[in-house]
């Protein structure tokens, strides 16, 4: 090896080289395969949680009524428009009666004709009765005469036969009269039915309410059952809320609710769960509950989306951890505990969780144990870690090969 007397030039160059190499080594140690994983720790502390259920709801009307005709027809006129308040019994719309009025007139004429027919039958009855009377008298007289042998038996038979005929005639006339009377009844009933149908052409409001849809305009042909107008009782608006099946433990009627309308996100309205539907939704895996407003706000629209939060009763004091600390290893749920010789995975029994991200720990952990909350990457039992106070904002992107945990 040469033994040099160092010159300033050489010294400075060597210094530069050393500086460069130090920089490289520093970077490698800081962010390379030898760099430790930075984590933050938290202590498991005792506390209570206020779990809450959260769901998205739609404002709907509890009762809504579709007003429409019972027979196919054409809409003649619609008297109200969307937004109008109507009272029970109010005429809302009318269908075109078409030929009903003419048919009524025809039936009227038929009824009159039937009455005339009755009069005629009546007269015929009188006539037949008179004939019967005469025939009876004649027959009696001839019988008397036959007893005295003043007339032939043939004549007596003839007169008896006349009497019989006259009886039959009287009976026939009577029957005619009845028939004419029944005919009249029938026609009267038909007329009454047509009048009722004519009434049905008038669409009346069955309740007080507000018109929310006008589905057919005058001139439109609608079939039986199709709605012309939709009415809604504005005092019956409530929120139909859907909750995730998996996150709906404790859902029961009577829970107090906070309702936030999409149109007014700054204000939270108070409400209550009126009903929890027995019929859930198996496709979306949701349960449905109906939440009523304590005070109905003005100016709400149906179909508006809301966010509903139901507060469940506070849990008793247990250990509480942030949910960022909960990890899964194989099939167990637990946390990584900071032990003296490294990290240890401890399986836990978890209880309820709150919407702000804290979870009850029912078993597996002691108070005061330090657990890993935030980490730069997945940690394992063999990871080298470096505890820092916060990872946010200061995390450098790793540039060297990752350590295999």
């Amino acid at each position: 090896m040469k033994f040099k007397i160092p010159s300033s030039k050489v010294t400075s160059l060597v210094l530069l080289g050393v500086l460069l190499i130090t920089a490289v080594v520093f970077v490698v140690m800081r962010a390379g395969p030898l760099a430790p994983v930075r984590v933050t720790l938290a202590q498991a502390t005792e506390g209570t949680l206020t779990p809450a259920l959260y769901g998205i709801g739609t404002v709907e009307a509890r009762r809504s009524y579709f007003v429409g005709p019972t027979a196919a027809g054409r809409v003649l006129r619609v008297l109200v428009d969307v937004g109008d308040t109507v009272k029970a019994g109010q005429l809302l719309a009318e269908m075109d009666p078409v030929d009903m009025d003419n048919r009524l007139t025809a039936l009227d004429a038929s009824v009159a004709r039937a009455a005339s027919m009755i009069a005629a039958a009546d007269a015929q009855t009188a006539d037949a009765a008179a004939r019967k009377e005469l025939a009876a008298i004649s027959a009696r007289r001839y019988l008397d005469l036959a007893q005295q042998n003043f007339v032939s038996s043939g004549a007596v038979e003839a007169k008896v036969q006349e009497q019989t005929s006259a009886d039959a005639g009287a009976r026939a006339a009577q029957a005619n009269l009845s028939a004419a009377g029944q005919d009249l009844s029938r026609l009267k009933a038909e007329r009454a039915a047509l009048v009722q149908q004519r009434q049905n052409v008038r669409l009346l409001a069955t309740q007080d309410g507000v018109v929310v849809a006008r589905d057919a305009e005058p001139g439109t042909t609608v079939v039986a059952g199709q709605s012309v107008l939709k009415l809604v009782d504005p005092t019956s608006l409530w929120v139909r809320v859907r909750f995730d099946q998996g996150r709906s433990a404790g859902l029961a009627p009577g829970l107090a609710a906070r309702i936030v309308l999409r149109s007014n996100p700054a204000t939270a309205l108070a409400g209550k769960v009126i009903r929890v539907e027995m019929q859930g939704d198996s496709v979306t895996e949701e349960r449905v509950a109906q939440v009523a407003f304590d005070v109905l706000p003005a100016g709400m629209s149906m179909g508006e989306l809301t966010e509903v939060t139901l507060n469940l009763p506070e849990t008793p004091r247990t250990l509480v951890l942030p949910n960022a600390a909960i990890k899964r290893l194989d099939s167990e749920v637990g946390v990584w505990v900071m032990a003296a010789d490294g990290l240890k995975f401890v399986a836990l029994r978890l209880g309820q969780s709150s919407l702000d991200g804290r979870v009850q720990v029912l078993g597996g952990l002691q108070a005061g144990e330090q657990v890993v909350v935030y980490s730069e990457k997945d940690v394992g039992a063999k990871s080298r870690i470096e505890v820092v106070s916060s990872l946010a904002g200061a995390a450098p992107k790793p540039t060297q090969a990752q350590a295999k945990p």
């Binding site: 460069l20 490289v24 998205i56 199709q226 496709v283 949910n323 960022a324 909350v373 990457k377 540039t399």
Partner: protein
């Protein structure tokens, strides 16, 4: 014996150092390009590792969900869950889209996940908490620039960022934003209002759906059009003790499903998705290597030309050819060494600022070092040839 090369370097150190810096920047670029490739492969691996799935169940005859589009009905998840060996199965959707916060837009991969703890959801956070509500909450990767408390806009809804995670990126390097599955399905499928009105009008104009004798038909059809029950994949975790292939085979025998194991998915991503980029980068590396060799050759050649007289004198007074060749070779390799150190430091410094994820592996560094040395040695042969051809007699007269 003293080192002639060392003395020469010290004597004209400025020329060496500046050339070394220039060469170093070139080598830095080369190392960075190799790092970009490794980063892409690592992105792909991180994507698969972070999805925490042992099996990826996708639409039959596709190589999705990352390399290709795949669409499944979301109730298939329940059938998969019932298969032997399956411990957990979760639906997941992926869609790369623009996510807005105030006035800035970020390109992100929006991932629809079931609950935290299921495959597909992020396993660790660096800030905040996991999603607790079933709608309108999001966890974002730190590369998006979002922080806890931000309100971001995805399609029609505004989401609260409740947690931040790290190194959750798509295979293309886009950061991920995790939202509840139902919201993601709506975001992926539901269009803007104008399109919805148009669709409704089109359906209403279709006499098959708009029959006067069947009230309620049109509404029912329109309602079915505006819901989405598709997902991109079902991620499966298998029970301990089971082999992934063992669980995958029965799934594949179903008519409309394809199942990939982790290894197969890695192969798809790395071999197929990254293949084109790998070729591009490979070409770049070759070109850069050639350019570096050319630079070293040129510099050393020029320096040697400037020393021809000294070389003649040295040869004349009795210096071996071998010693002279060694001097030139050492100079070339010294240049390479300076260049490599400068390049490595430069690459390490500018890598975090690079828009794509750069992964500088130790193995690559070592290989790079040897390659640089070999290239310098080869580049010096031109100058060595010149030096050896110098006639010592030229020093006399």
């Amino acid at each position: 014996m003293i080192s002639l090369a060392g003395r020469d370097i010290l004597h004209s150190w400025s020329k060496f150092v500046f050339t070394g810096i220039g060469l170093g920047l070139l080598i830095g670029v080369t190392l960075t390009m190799a790092g970009v490739y490794r980063g892409m492969v690592d992105d792909a691996r991180a994507l698969l590792t972070n999805s925490r799935a042992d099996l990826y169940v996708v639409q039959k005859d596709t190589q999705g969900p990352y390399a290709e589009a795949s669409s499944l009905r979301d109730d298939i998840q329940r059938s998969v869950l019932g298969m032997p060996g399956v411990a957990r199965a979760a639906n997941v959707t992926y869609l790369t889209m623009q996510v807005r916060r105030a006035s800035t837009e970020v390109r992100a991969m929006v991932v629809g996940v079931e609950e935290p703890g299921q495959p597909g959801a992020p396993a660790y956070l660096i800030e905040g908490r996991h999603i607790t509500r079933n709608h309108y909450e999001a966890v974002a990767d730190v590369k998006t620039g979002f922080v806890v408390g931000d309100r971001i806009q995805i399609r029609r809804h505004t989401y609260d960022v409740v947690g931040v995670t790290q190194r959750m990126v798509s295979s293309g390097g886009d950061p991920m934003v995790f939202i509840p599955l139902a919201d993601a399905q709506e975001a992926q499928f539901l269009k803007d209002n104008d399109a919805i009105y148009n669709d409704r009008a089109r359906t209403a104009a279709n006499p098959a759906f708009n029959r006067p004798g069947v009230p309620g038909l049109l509404e029912a059809v329109q309602a079915s059009q505006s819901s989405n029950h598709n997902v991109n994949a079902v991620l499966v975790q298998i029970q301990p003790g089971w082999d992934a292939e063992q669980v995958a085979e029965p799934l594949r025998r179903w008519k409309h499903l394809q199942a990939f194991t982790r290894m197969q998915m890695e192969d798809i991503l790395v071999a197929k998705l990254i293949a084109t980029s790998a070729k591009q980068i490979g070409m770049f590396l070759v070109i850069l290597a050639i350019v570096s060799a050319a630079i070293v050759a040129f510099i050393i050649y020029t320096m040697t030309l400037g020393k021809l007289r000294e070389i003649a004198v040295l040869k004349l007074i009795g210096t071996r050819d071998r010693t002279i060749a060694g001097m030139i070779l050492q100079q070339a390799m010294g240049l390479g060494l300076i260049g490599f150190i400068v390049g490595k430091v430069a690459a390490t410094i500018w890598s975090p600022v690079f828009p794509k994820f750069v992964l500088l592996e130790v193995g690559d560094t070592v290989i790079g070092f040897f390659l640089v040395m070999v290239i310098c040695a080869l580049a010096s042969t031109l100058a060595i040839r010149v030096a050896l051809r110098v006639d010592p007699a030229a020093a006399i007269g």
